[in-house]
Every structure is written in structure tokens, then in C-alpha cells.
């Protein structure tokens, strides 16, 4: 039996539509399930109290603080390194052997499973450098892990800046660095920030790499050298060891809400930033771009 062009078009369209809807449905199912199970646990005291009995009682104040600190360390270290590498790749190299080595390294880093980062972090930061299970060890490990994302998104953003911007800047007597700093960066900031936000999301959600490097202390951390347990690790522990399913879901719900807030908040900030700077229009200049 042969289908007419019209009906095959219809069938194709429905299949594609179904695929897209399935994705939405899966996401909705997960979010709704977690929120339904977790929201009843969420309360002011749950957010502000330190866990007791290994998390069976009390709140999750210390895992919240631990998550924030580990993520902050990771992003603060990875951002300058990653953006710097991206600038070097996009603006200073012309595709020689060094570029290839840097890019290959970054791509390889991206393909390593996070548990391997954890093992490396454990051996190098925790044992060799003697940092112990600590916020610092965990943050440094995550920094290496998110580096490829920041490099790749930043490099793409920088390459996306029209060549005419650079040309014009040079024609006004700017040096290369002035051009990068004053013209290329502002034009690429949206893409760079997107990469950083993605990385924050990954850091907040990471477990395997942190179990081995940040430890699983439930005490309120007092310094960057103190061990901590992030929310994701806390959730994992509560669920795996069947300590408190209710608290596990509460933690998971908070994680989801947090990531949602980070994404939406960053988008709003970015949009405001962009409308201040004027709409991004193509401004391709001379013929030799």
C-alpha cells in the first residue's frame, strides 16, 4: 500500500509532535512527582535547621550552605581560567599545533565521567595536596569538571562577535587587548554568562565527584577547609541509605526549585542587560570579514 504525499506528511508530523510532547511529559512527570512528594516537607525550619540523626530529622541548612560554597569556589576558579582559554583560542591562535592540543584537552576533559574527576580530586587535592575532604577540594574538582563547558560556550560566544566590531575598534586606534576587553567581551557576554549558568547547574547537581572530595559532614562549615555535604549528596545519602524518604524528597524539591530559580533569574538578568545595551543586530562590516 502506498501512502499519498499528504497522508505521509500528516503521519510524519504527528510522530515528530509526539516525540516533542513526550519530552515535555517526561520533564513534567519528574518535576511534578518530586514536588508533590517533597513540597510538604519544605518549611522554614527545614531550610534553617541543621540535620540531626544523619538527616533523619532536622533541616538541611548545612547542606544548603555547603552547596553554595562548593559551587562558588568552582565557578570563581573555573570562570577566569575558562574564559581566558577561550579568548586565547578565539583571538590569539591561528589554528596551530598548540591550539589543537588545547582544544583536544578541553574536549577530552568534557568526556570524562564525573566519578573519575572525583577519584582524581581525591588523590590530588584531598591526599597529595593535603586539603582533606573539604569545600576547597570539592570546589577545585568541580572547577576542572566545568572548565570544558565554560571554554566551549565562551569560545563560541567570542567567535560569534562580528569581525566588523574588531575591525572598527582597530581602526579607532585600539590595541588588541583594548579591543577584546572593551568591544568583544561586552558583545559576547551573553554567551559567556550562559556557559557559566550551565556550569552552576552542573555543580549544584553533582554528586559522584563530591562524595570523594568534599566529604559528607553535616556540620555547618566554618571555613573553606571544612568538609561539607552538598544537597545533591545529602539527597543521595538519604535515599540510598533509606534514612528519611520524606527529607530526601524535600531536598530534591529544593534542588529543583533552586535550579529553576537560577535559570529564570539569569535569563531575566540577561534580558535586562541586553535591552540596556540595545538589541543585538548583525553588523557585518567590510568585505574581508
Amino acid at each position: 500500500m502506498k501512502l499519498s504525499a499528504k497522508s505521509s506528511e500528516k503521519i510524519a508530523k504527528s510522530i515528530i509532535w509526539a516525540a516533542a510532547m513526550l519530552v515535555v511529559a517526561v520533564l513534567a512527570a519528574i518535576v511534578i512527582y518530586i514536588l508533590a512528594k517533597g513540597l510538604p516537607t519544605l518549611s522554614w525550619s527545614f531550610l534553617t535547621e541543621i540535620p540531626e540523626g544523619g538527616g533523619a530529622a532536622g533541616g538541611i541548612a548545612s547542606p544548603i550552605v555547603g552547596t553554595v560554597l562548593v559551587t562558588a569556589v568552582a565557578v570563581l576558579i573555573a570562570t577566569p581560567l575558562g574564559v581566558g582559554t577561550a579568548v586565547y583560542l578565539a583571538e590569539y591562535t591561528k589554528g596551530g599545533a598548540i591550539t589543537k592540543i588545547i582544544r583536544f584537552s578541553a574536549e577530552s576533559l568534557a568526556g570524562i565521567p564525573s566519578i573519575v574527576y572525583g577519584l582524581f580530586g581525591f588523590i590530588f587535592f584531598v591526599m597529595y595536596l593535603g586539603l582533606g575532604w573539604s569545600i576547597l577540594s570539592g570546589g577545585l574538582t568541580l572547577a576542572i569538571m566545568i572548565l570544558p563547558t565554560i571554554i566551549r560556550t565562551s569560545e563560541e560566544a567570542i567567535r560569534g562577535v562580528p569581525g566588523s566590531y574588531r575591525e572598527t575598534s582597530f581602526s579607532l586606534g585600539a590595541t588588541k587587548w583594548q579591543t577584546i576587553y572593551k568591544v568583544v567581551f561586552p558583545a559576547a557576554i551573553q554567551g559567556i554568562t550562559n556557559g557559566i549558568i550551565l556550569s552552576v547547574g552542573r555543580s549544584v547537581a553533582e554528586t559522584a565527584a563530591l562524595v570523594l572530595t568534599a566529604g559528607s559532614s553535616l556540620r555547618m562549615p566554618t571555613s573553606l577547609f571544612a568538609p561539607t555535604r552538598t544537597m545533591a549528596v545529602h539527597f543521595y545519602t538519604l535515599a540510598m541509605e533509606d534514612i528519611s524518604p520524606a527529607n530526601a524528597f524535600g531536598t530534591a524539591a529544593l534542588l529543583i526549585i533552586l535550579i529553576f530559580i537560577i535559570n529564570v533569574g539569569a535569563n531575566i538578568l540577561l534580558n535586562r542587560f541586553i535591552s540596556n545595551k540595545g538589541k543585538k543586530k548583525e553588523a557585518k562590516g567590510g568585505k574581508r570579514n
Binding site: 591561528k94 566588523s164 566590531y165 574588531r166 575591525e167 572598527t168 575598534s169 582597530f170 581602526s171 579607532l172 586606534g173 585600539a174 590595541t175 583594548q178 572593551k182 568591544v183 561586552p186 558583545a187 540596556n276 545595551k277 540595545g278 538589541k279 543585538k280 543586530k281 553588523a283 557585518k284 562590516g285 567590510g286 568585505k287 574581508r288
Partner: protein
């Protein structure tokens, strides 16, 4: 129109330009007078823009580009070993084909050059911005919107802004690479008036596809064409009046009268 006998600002001697193995410009020797407008005309692909970009070393940005021969800005050898391209570009400003303001405010666009070159005081920057915007006849239109994005301006106004931005670096020479080709006739007229006005204090070189424009605004005209080996050559150079009324070269005549292409 200003007198051609004035001191030359720009000069080339046996200039040759190569992009890798491609010979783009051959044996160009010309003197460009100061306080006048010199137009480079010729068919597409004859190297007009390449020649223009020799004067502010814009071709440096193309890795394989190589220049032979001499280019002088007064006594400075443009390609001399001592010459710093960044410093040179402060003296030789450029306005591009398409209006290309940066995605920032009108004010920040105008003062980006001076800021780069170390002017920090707010008052000083404000007076530079006002001055330059007045010179391009834009001040009255934008003085209340200096904080707005330059990208929201109409194209013609954007180009005026780009000229103001170039004036703000206090250049001696202004290169204009088909700066009206993206503009409507009315904006083109405004920019042409501006060119004529600026020519009283600057050395201006323009590349244009429009013969009418060359005839209207320029004092000197240079006609370029590619030879049989596809290398850009300067065919004829003289006062605009002479080039357009009594061209010496047959090829110039054909092009001027529209018999070419």
C-alpha cells in the same frame, strides 16, 4: 574646491600589495593632497578598498597580506619598522561601508576612542562628544538621548555617528570605504555635505561605486582597474574635473561614460 597645490599628506611609491600568492595591487605611485577629497573609483574587485586599507594598515589584520614599496603620511613611513600601527590609526581614521556602531550607548560610541587613549574626566569626554556630534550635525537630534543604544538609530544617523566616532580620535586623515552605499539618497546627501565640510580641515579619501558621488564631492579622482593578470592597477589619477571631462586613458573614458560593464 581647495587648491591641489597644497602640501601632500599621503604618498605612495611603487606600492605593491599581496594577499599570500595573489598580487592585488601593482606599482601604485600617487600623492594625495591635504584638505581635499580624493576619490578612488573603478569596477568591483579592482582593489579600491585594498588600496584604502593600505593607508591605515588595516590589511595587517589579514595574516597573509604583505606590502612592498613605500607609503608615507607626511614624513612618517607607514610601513616603517619604527611605526606603530596602533598609533598610526589614531592619525588615520576610517569610516566603513555599513554603519557599524558598537552595541552600546550613543555617548559611549563617540568617546570610545578618546577613552581608549586615556581621557578619563567626565567633563572632557562630554565636551568631546558634544563637539564631534555637532560637527556631524547630529547634536541637536541626539543630545537628549545620549544614553540610548546607538543601534536604535536609523541607518543614516548611525553612519553620522560613526563619522563622529572617527572624528573623536582627532585624526588627520579620514578614509571612507563606500560609506554611503548602505544609505538612502537623503542620508547620502547629508553625509556628502559632511564630507565637503570636513575636507576643509582633514585629508579625505573615499572609495565609491557611484561616479556621480565622485563627481559631486571629490577634488581628485583615481581610476583603478584590474589588468590582464587580474592585478589592481592605477590607470589614471588627476583632478576630478580633468578625469571626468578629458580623461587621457581610453579605459577611463569607457568607464566614466558607462561603456564599461
Amino acid at each position: 574646491m581647495s587648491e591641489i597645490s597644497e602640501k601632500s599628506r599621503l604618498r605612495t611609491e611603487n606600492l605593491n600589495l599581496y594577499y599570500g600568492s595573489r598580487h592585488a595591487l601593482k606599482d601604485i605611485t600617487m600623492e594625495i593632497p591635504s584638505r581635499a577629497i580624493t576619490a578612488i573609483i573603478g569596477p568591483s574587485g579592482c582593489g579600491k578598498s585594498s588600496l584604502l586599507r593600505v593607508f591605515n594598515r588595516m590589511n595587517d589584520l589579514i595574516p597573509e597580506a604583505r606590502v612592498e614599496g613605500n607609503v608615507y603620511l607626511d614624513k612618517i613611513s607607514v610601513y616603517g619598522e619604527e611605526t606603530d600601527a596602533v598609533a598610526l590609526r589614531k592619525k588615520v581614521g576610517m569610516v566603513f561601508q555599513k554603519p557599524n556602531p558598537f552595541p552600546m550607548s550613543i555617548f559611549d560610541n563617540v568617546v570610545i576612542g578618546p577613552r581608549r587613549h586615556g581621557v578619563k574626566h567626565r567633563d572632557e569626554l562630554e565636551s568631546i562628544a558634544e563637539n564631534c556630534l555637532r560637527r556631524v550635525a547630529l547634536w541637536e537630534d541626539v543630545k537628549d538621548n545620549l544614553r540610548q543604544s546607538a543601534l536604535n538609530l536609523p541607518l543614516g544617523t548611525q553612519q553620522q555617528l560613526c563619522i563622529a566616532r572617527t572624528l573623536a580620535i582627532e585624526p588627520e586623515v579620514i578614509l571612507m570605504d563606500e560609506s554611503c552605499s548602505a544609505l538612502d539618497p537623503e542620508s547620502t546627501m547629508r553625509v556628502e555635505e559632511l564630507m565637503t565640510e570636513l575636507a576643509q580641515s582633514y585629508t579625505i579619501m573615499i572609495v565609491t561605486h557611484s561616479m556621480e558621488q565622485a563627481a559631486r564631492v571629490s577634488d581628485m579622482s583615481a581610476f583603478m582597474m584590474i589588468d590582464d593578470e587580474k592585478i589592481g592597477r592605477l590607470v589614471e589619477y588627476g583632478t576630478t574635473e580633468q578625469i571626468f571631462s578629458t580623461p587621457k586613458d581610453k579605459r577611463t573614458e569607457d568607464y566614466i561614460t558607462g561603456r564599461y560593464g
